[in-house]
Structure formats: C-alpha cells, structure tokens
C-alpha cells in the first residue's frame, strides 16, 4: 500500500508519541554540549534550506565537504601517525624504530616540557620535568640521535613544538643536513600554532605579539626553502581537550587560521605561496556523528574563508587535517574500556575523512603508554584499515539526512563565533582579552557538572563501576638518570664547540628580534649548527622579547548553578558554614600548579567549583616552584594546599614542597593533598611524604570537596 509523504510522517509521529508517551516528537530532542538540538528523526526535508553545505558536490570538488581528494582512502588510506616521545633521544629512537617496523607510517615527536618552554635539561628550574612527559632535546646532537637510522627524506615527521619552535625546527633541519639531505626534501609538519598555547596549551614563552612574528618567520622561510614541509598545524585538538565543545573548537581554530594567513600576508607573501602548506589538527571525542560532521564542516568553511582571501590554488582551498582521538574521554577507572572508546572515535575520524590519525592508548589517564598499550592503540587503526572495509568508499555517510543537516548546523553555529572574533579584531586581540579561554573554561566546567551530577554517563566512572579494578603495568621514567645523561651531553657539547662563533650567532638573533629585521629561523639554524642549545637560543630571543606570564582568573558560578537544591551540594555548603562559625573564617585552600606542567583544566575547574561550594580559594599562577608555593601558603595562612599534577612531576615536586613549608614554619598545620594523573604505584610514596589525600582522574568534585572539608575540620 502506498501512502503519501505527509500521511506517513504523521503516522510515524503518532506511533512515536505513543511509544515514548509524549504529545509530539518535537518535544523530544537531545541538546548537545554545543547547544545543537538532535531530533529523533531526520527526513528528506532536512536536506533543504542550507547556506553552507551544498549536498550536490563531490569529493575533491569545491567546497570540499566530501573530502580534499577525489579518491580519498580508496587510493591511499590515512597515515597511522602515533604521537610519542619520552626520556632521552636514545630511548625514543628505539621506540620509534620498533613502531615503524610494526606498521606505523609516520612519526610524531612529543617533546618534554623543559624543551617546550625553552629550558635546557641542566636548568635548576625544570628539575622535576626532564624527560618525563616527552623526550628531552637540548641540541642538534640529540636531534641526530632521535632520528638515527630513520631517513628523513623518506619519513614524514610531525613535531609538536610551539614555544621553542625556532631552535627545535632549526635543530631538525641541521640534523637532516648532517644526514646528507638538502632541506628541500624534508617532509613533515611543525605545529607552530602559538595562539592556542595562550588559550589552552600553555607552552608559550614570549608575549603574543613577538610570538606571532616567529610564526610568520617560519611560514616565510619554509615557503621559500622547504616545499614539502607543513609550516603550521592549526590546532583545535587542545581546545577540545581543554573543554571546548565541537563548535567552539572548530570556530576558534578556523579563526586562528585566518590570523596566521594575515600574519603571512604581512610578510609580503602571496596567499597561494604558503596556503597549500597550512595544515590542521582536530580532536575526535565520543559524540560520534558530531565529530564526523565537524570534519565535513571544517573543510566547507575553510574553502570559503580561503576563497575570501583570494586563494585560487586548489591546495590552498582544501583543509587537510590530522586527528587524534580524545584523551580526556578516557578514564583511569576500568581502563580497558578505553580501547572501545578509542575504536569508536577512530571510526568517527575516518568517516569524517581525516588525512592522518593518532589513537590513544588505554592507559592514557594513568601515565605515558607502555609498549603493550601502544601496540593495541596502533592495531586499532590497522584493523580499521585492513579488516572493516571503511576504506572502500569515499565519504560513505554523504546523503544521510542526519549527517548532512548536522554538517550544516555546525557550519552556521561556528560561523557565528568566527564573526564575533572578527568583530573583536581577530584572534590575537580576542586571545589577549581572554575571550576564547574564558568560554572554553565555561564549557569545561559545565561538562564536569554534567558528569558529577550524573546527567552525562561515563561508564565505569559514574555508572556501571567495576568492583574489581584491574592492575595494569605502567611506564616508569627514571627522571634523575635522564637528567644526568642530558647534563653529560650538554657538558661535552659545550667543551667541543667554538663558543666565540656561537656568541656571534646568538647576538645576531637578539638584534634581529629587537629590530624586527631578518628571518629568525634562518638565524636560529646558524646558531644550532654552531652547537647552540635550545635554552641558549630561547634565551637570546627572550633578551629581546621578554617572557610571558598569564594572568587569567576564570569563571564563577557555573558549577554551582547545576546543583541548585542538590542535597549533597547543600550538605557540603552547610559543613563549610559551620566551619566558618567555629573558626572565624572560611576554609581556605591554595590550589597550585608546580613545575612546567601546563595542564590547568582540572585545577581551574576545582577552583571555581570549590569557590561555588563556599571555600576561599587562592589560585597560584602556572609554573610555580615549590618554594614559591610554600611562601604563598604560609603568608596567606591557608588551611590546605591542593597540588594539581598531571605531567608526572609530583615525585620530585611534592617532597620539595614539604621541605619548603617546613623551612618557613616547621610547626605549620597545612594539609597537603594531590589531584591529577597519579599512578597507583605512587600513592604510598606520596602518603609517606605526608600527603593527606589523593584525588585521581574522574573524582567527582563533590567527593573531593567533602573529603577536604573533613580533613581541614579535623585539624582545626
């Protein structure tokens, strides 16, 4: 029997209403984090009335919604590119070579935090951080070891480096040179995306304006000298990981891209001279269809943006991207679940048409990956490529009423934000005013509230908990040994080099930085070739530019709003009120980040939520030393210090903090607790150092707050 369309729809509507027991399906939608409404049903009508998404177009055709290339994976699958690095160059090199043998296709280097922030491994300031969260690279010598036995003319290398981008890229170029290769043949990507560092990633060194000059100098140099090298990887990844929703991630990333295009144009380059070498980097979280649609929307909008910049080369118009599955979606609890999460996310990235992909390991929320966990992560992609058939068809979800509509919805929501940023005068101005950072922090805080209140389910964390958590092996890095090795290498380097020549190069860098003359990458190559260190070149630039200190305060009231009239929330508030009555003031907690660890999402969320609950919160700046923290804590007579540690510096930094506290006041009654990524293997060590409580990933704020007020009350 044939029915007409509207009759069928109304029949469906009736059935639906009956099944879910509501008046109309219109009331039945799911609102995403982005504020987009997801309906229970999409039909052909949902394909109409679009502004951005033209569903008629084909892959490799303007505006490239369906893919930058016509053939996509049918010709060549995406590149399996796993981000890795730890300890010394020797150790990381061994690890890379094994991975390449096992099917990995491209390299992606993770540097340690001292390198990111422009400090050499022998710098006192970074004692706890050397080799911990990435590989320590101090000079060309280290860089050569890192790629020993890996031909840089054949292997494309991606480097996540932004702050100390000049000496590190320079060292890479010289390492290639000393492998006997002209820089013209080097292929790969340097992240070189400084704007998002100020927003969310926090490995900046210099203030925003001179930092933008470094970006432009690199784009200029590579456009002329390194035709196969991507001069920048414009990254939304870190924004989503810091808490941005997908629309924010997309909008701020594209707006960053526009800013970089302008910076390059200001160097006198023509748009098609450099735009083909701009690449992108997005995160792929658990919202399956949203992520697919995001990648399609990204390509659509970038084509439009670049056309407005006057680009005509097709390579300038197409957005090519690397993707990484979301680390923040992975849990410390019941960690094998993470393999499943990562698989879905990887599928999402592939259906969205990514050019390369990193899949996270299941021990993500515990420590750097082990050989075992890395293998599973890599194989997740290899199975997808070789066993599932997803590579046989280009953009297989095109024409899906839902995915097409979602693509359009994301485009228009992101475009609104981009227009706001433009009104601000572009991303540099918006970033300086703290606008994107604040809106991302607001989203992050909402997310935490949704999870803590159970509105959003995380399996194994706030529902379906595993009563018997498995024990898993973790990668342990002997940070003192790494530091010793690095110091030895630096000492030899400094003996063997000609310091006079080097000093000349370094002072030329400072001069050129001051006078806004010359190309700073070209000058850095000279200095690194003369065996300067990452720290020395960074210092030469700092002498001209100064160092940047962030001063952002954060949101307020966002967490509390979710818990109006919540019993647990009010119970804690009452405890705090009682404490105030008995003690003459509110419980006061100093929340700190020590060392070079720039993960501030957790610390900020805890700070704002604790304040909503009624605590007085002192918020330390990033990169404090244990000594500074102790002084701050004593002077403000806080009841407790909450150390937020995610980059594995706690084994050095926490004992130092205790020492410093006792040095100022050996009778102090300050309670110290620790939050963040702490492997279970470290718990006893911390307790032995007088840490009162440890709150790992996934701890509900209400749980930690209750424990903290209990501990403080007990002591006072």
């Amino acid at each position: 029997m044939k029915k007409d369309k509207s009759k069928r729809l109304s029949d469906w509507e009736k059935k639906f209403s009956k099944e879910v027991k509501i008046e109309t399906s219109k009331q039945f939608f799911h609102e995403t984090d982005e504020g987009i409404n997801i309906n229970p049903l999409y039909t052909k009508e949902d394909l109409l009335g679009y502004t951005f998404n033209d569903i008629q177009t084909l892959p490799g055709e303007w505006p490239y919604t369906r893919g930058p290339k016509a053939s996509m994976y049918t010709n060549r699958p995406w590149t399996v590119r796993q981000y890795a690095g730890f300890s010394t160059a020797e150790e990381s090199n061994k690890f890379y070579r094994k991975n390449l043998e096992a099917g990995q296709m491209g390299l992606s280097v993770a540097f340690d935090l001292p390198t990111h922030r422009g400090y050499d491994s022998d710098d006192e300031l970074v004692m706890g951080d050397v080799g911990k969260a990435g590989v320590a690279i101090d000079s060309v010598e280290d860089m050569k070891i890192l790629f020993d036995g890996i031909p840089l003319d054949k292997m494309s290398v991606s480097m996540t480096m932004n702050g100390a981008v000049l000496p590190v890229l320079a060292a890479f170029i010289v390492a290639g040179e000393e492998q006997g290769l002209d820089r013209k043949v080097l292929s790969g990507t340097i992240q070189n995306d400084i704007l998002k560092e100020f927003m969310v990633r926090n490995t900046y060194i210099y203030p925003p304006e001179p930092s933008m000059r470094l970006v432009a100098d690199i784009i200029e140099y590579t456009a002329k000298e390194m035709p196969k090298f991507n001069s920048i990887s414009i990254s939304g990844y870190h924004m989503q990981e810091a808490g941005a929703n997908n629309v924010q991630e997309l909008a701020f990333t594209l707006a960053d891209g526009m800013e970089y295009v302008r910076a390059a144009l200001s160097k006198g380059l023509a748009v098609d001279d450099f735009a083909p070498r701009l690449s992108f980097f997005f995160a792929i979280g658990t919202d399956f269809f949203m992520e697919i649609a995001k990648l399609r929307a990204a390509r659509t909008l970038w084509a439009k943006i670049m056309q407005d910049f006057g680009a005509t080369n097709e390579k300038s118009l197409t957005l090519r991207t690397h993707c990484q599955t979301s680390g923040v979606s992975l849990t410390e609890k019941d960690p094998y679940n993470n393999i499943v999460r990562t698989s879905y996310e990887a599928l999402s990235a592939v259906l969205g048409g990514t050019q390369s992909l990193h899949t996270n390991s299941f021990d993500e929320a515990i420590a750097l990956p082990t050989e075992f966990s890395s293998r599973i992560a890599r194989n997740t992609q290899l199975i997808l490529q070789n066993e599932t058939g997803v590579t046989n068809t280009v953009d297989p979800l095109a024409g899906s009423y839902f995915v097409e509509k979602l693509t359009e919805d994301i485009c228009s929501a992101a475009w609104k934000i981009i227009e706001e940023v433009e009104e601000f005068g572009g991303m540099t101005k918006a970033v300086a005013a703290g606008m994107p950072k604040l809106s991302i922090e607001e989203s992050a805080t909402k997310k935490q509230a949704k999870i803590d209140s159970g509105k959003q389910v995380v399996v194994g964390v706030n529902k379906y908990k595993n009563p018997k958590e498995p024990k898993i092996d973790v990668l342990v890095i002997d940070n003192e040994k790494v530091r010793e090795d690095q110091i030895k290498k630096i000492t030899t380097l400094k003996i063997e080099r000609d310091s006079k020549i080097l000093e000349g190069h370094l002072s030329r860098i400072t001069e050129a930085a001051k006078n806004n003359s010359g190309n700073l990458l070209a000058l850095s190559i000279e200095a690194m070739r003369a065996r300067g260190t990452v720290g020395e070149v960074s210092k030469a630039l700092e002498d001209a530019f100064g160092r940047h200190y962030a001063t952002n305060v954060g949101v307020s009231g966002v967490y509390g709003k979710f818990f109006e009239k919540d019993e647990k929330f009010m119970e804690i508030q009452n405890k705090i009120d009682t404490f105030e009555k008995e003690n003459g003031r509110r419980p006061r907690v100093l929340i700190v980040k020590m060392g070079q660890d720039g993960h501030d999402r957790g610390a900020k969320i805890v700070a704002t939520s604790f304040a909503d609950l009624g605590f007085d919160i002192d918020m330390g700046p990033l990169f404090q030393s244990p000594k500074d923290v102790a002084k701050d804590a004593i002077e403000n007579d806080v009841h407790a210090i909450g150390v937020s540690t995610l980059a594995a510096g706690h084994r050095t930094l926490v004992p130092e903090l205790m020492k410093s506290l006792n040095a100022i006041d050996k009778n102090n009654k300050i309670i110290v607790f620790v939050g963040g990524v702490v492997p279970e293997q470290d718990y006893q060590f911390l307790y032995d150092n007088n840490v009162s409580a440890i709150f790992g990933p996934g701890t509900s704020i209400l749980v930690s707050a209750e424990e903290v007020i209990k501990l403080i009350s007990k002591k006072h």
Binding site: T551, G557, R586, D616, I617, M619, S625, E635
Partner: protein, 323 residues
C-alpha cells in the same frame, strides 16, 4: 600574645600571617586576642609608608603593584601588600585572583603578599585591613601597599588608612573625568594613568593631560601640594621611577609641614569614631529587649499609636537606660 608580638617584631613570616588571620577573624575569642595584640604592637611602631591603590575594576591595580613593587624591592626595600579581592561569589566562597598578577614580587624574599576576600564590607577594604597594616608596620616593612576593591564612590574609608592615596585610572573615555569632583581630589594625592602602551598609548597620554587640566581647576590652597598625575605602563614597566619620585615628594612635603603626622592623627580620630559607632550598633542589636522593642515600636507606628520620631526617641532612651 606576647610571644606572637615578639615573633612579629622579629619579622617571622608565619607569625605575621597568623596575626593577620586573627585580626580578620569573626570568632569572639580571636577578636579579644587581636585587640590585645594590636595594643601591644602599637607600642613599637615601625617606619612604614602606607599607600592605598584604588580605581575601577580591571584598570590594572594588581599589575601596577607587581611592576612598581618589583621596582621598589629592587631598591632593597621591604614590601608588604594587602590585596582586598573583590571576587566574592554568590555562595559566599571566593577565588582570590589578585595574586595571579603578582607572581614576580610574590617570589621575592623581601615581600609579604596577603589576599583577603572583601566579603562585601564597605569602603573597598576588609575587616582587619587597618590592623593588618599595623602588623606589617611593626614587622619592619618599609612600604605597605593596600589594593582596594575598585568601588568608585566609597574611597573615603580606604583613604583614611594610608599616608598616600593613589587613584589608578585607565586610558579614559573622559566619562571618568566626571569623577574628579572636588571630593575625590581631597583624598587622592596622586593619579596614575595606566596602560600607556601599544594601541592605548596615545589615548593614555591624552587622558593624563585631561586630568592635569581638570585638576588645575580644583586646585587646593596654596600651601598644599598639587595632586600629581603620572603616566605609566604596568606591563612595560614604564614610569615607575616617576611614581616613586612623586611618592617621595608627597612624603617629604607632608613631613616638612607636619601634615604627615596630623593626617595620621585625623585618621586615628576617624577610626576611633568608626569603632565606637560599630560597637554601639552591635550592642544595639544585641542588648536585651531592644530588638523586640524595635519590632514593637514599628507595629505601634503602623497602628497609629505612636509617631516615627517619638518611637525612635523611646528606643534610644531605653537603650541609654534613661527609661
């Protein structure tokens, strides 16, 4: 208490901190202890110059203190900072953010930096700020900076705490000039125009000259020092020497003609009166029978049994024991 006093005078960091907690506390026994302590400390005053910084939110008070503070500390002065943080939250908690902008001076051995949540107390300062300054003075600090909450109208209380009262303003729209009424110039010894850098530089210097000419209208009588106007950039550390010179000028001038001391004496009178007023109010709200009487009188006014003014008189007379 004596022990605490000695430790403060010896400059012991933890003792100073505990003492400030004591003077800020709302607990009855703490209040009594703090009175004892302050009375003891007042007997051995130091030599600190107390400087107040007021100005609208976000104008750069904390950033200025970071920059100017570094300048002072580099000249080997000891600096205490009392930052009254406005960021009180709807549930009563707060995030104290001023200090995140003072990370350089915080590290220095010769500083003591304390943040206090304002808790809505009036006048841009907090309960205990005056006493905290006394503690830092006794502990031997050369300068004590007080960052007030930028509240605009109620600078008088803050001004009565300090030897130099500073108003920080931004590259202005000119609207702020409306604020330079006769009243404020009486309290402000110096105007600092901040953010004289980058895109804002030209606007900042225009603002400074606007202030100068506006101030010349309201100038004080002949034997008073004219209100200083200094142009600075806190992020580029520009103008800090000029500020220090102006401070020195103000102090020297005031000391040379006895204004310095007489100002402190007037402030003492102000605070004594404040203290008495507050105590009476507190007593009034606690005195046996008074709160009930007030309620009762309100009802009697409403029902027409008595009038507003006679009700007031009845209450006061009862309170003072005349009835």
């Amino acid at each position: 208490m004596i022990n605490l006093r000695d430790r403060i005078i010896a400059g012991e960091r933890a003792a100073i901190a505990k003492a400030i907690t004591l003077v800020e506390s709302s607990r009855e026994e703490d209040i009594n202890h703090s009175h004892e302590l302050i009375s003891a400390l007042i007997k051995s005053p130091g030599h600190a110059i107390r400087v107040g910084f007021s100005g609208p939110p976000g104008v750069g008070k904390s950033t200025f203190i970071e920059s100017f503070g570094s300048h002072i500390v580099n000249k080997n002065f000891k600096l205490g900072v009392l930052a009254i943080d406005p960021s009180s939250n709807f549930t009563g908690g707060s995030i104290l953010g001023d200090k995140t902008r003072m990370s350089e001076i915080s590290k220095n051995e010769n500083t003591f930096i304390r943040s206090t949540p304002s808790r809505g107390s009036l006048g841009g300062i907090a309960v205990g700020t005056r006493e905290a300054a006394i503690i830092l003075d006794a502990a031997g600090y050369d300068y004590i900076f007080i960052e007030t909450v930028g509240v605009g109208q109620s600078e008088i209380t803050a001004a009565n705490l300090v030897d130099i009262f500073t108003l920080i303003v931004g590259p202005g729209s000119g609207d702020e000039l409306q604020g330079i009424k006769k009243g404020i110039t009486e309290y402000a010894d110096i105007f600092i125009v901040n953010k004289n850098d980058g895109d804002l530089a030209s606007q900042a210097s225009r603002t400074a000259s606007d202030y100068k000419s506006a101030l010349s209208f309201y100038n004080k009588d002949n034997n008073e020092l004219e209100t200083q106007v200094v142009l600075v950039s806190s992020i580029e550390n520009k103008g800090m020497d000029e500020v220090l010179n102006s401070f020195n000028k103000i102090v020297e001038f005031n000391k040379s003609n006895n204004r310095f001391e007489s100002r402190r004496e007037n402030q003492l009178a102000y605070w004594l009166e404040e203290e008495v007023r507050n105590k009476i109010l507190l007593q009034l709200s606690k005195e046996n029978g008074i709160p009930g009487l007030i309620e009762n009188e309100v009802q009697r006014i409403i029902s027409g049994e008595t009038g507003f003014y006679s009700a007031s008189k009845t209450i006061i007379d009862t309170f003072l024991g005349k009835k």
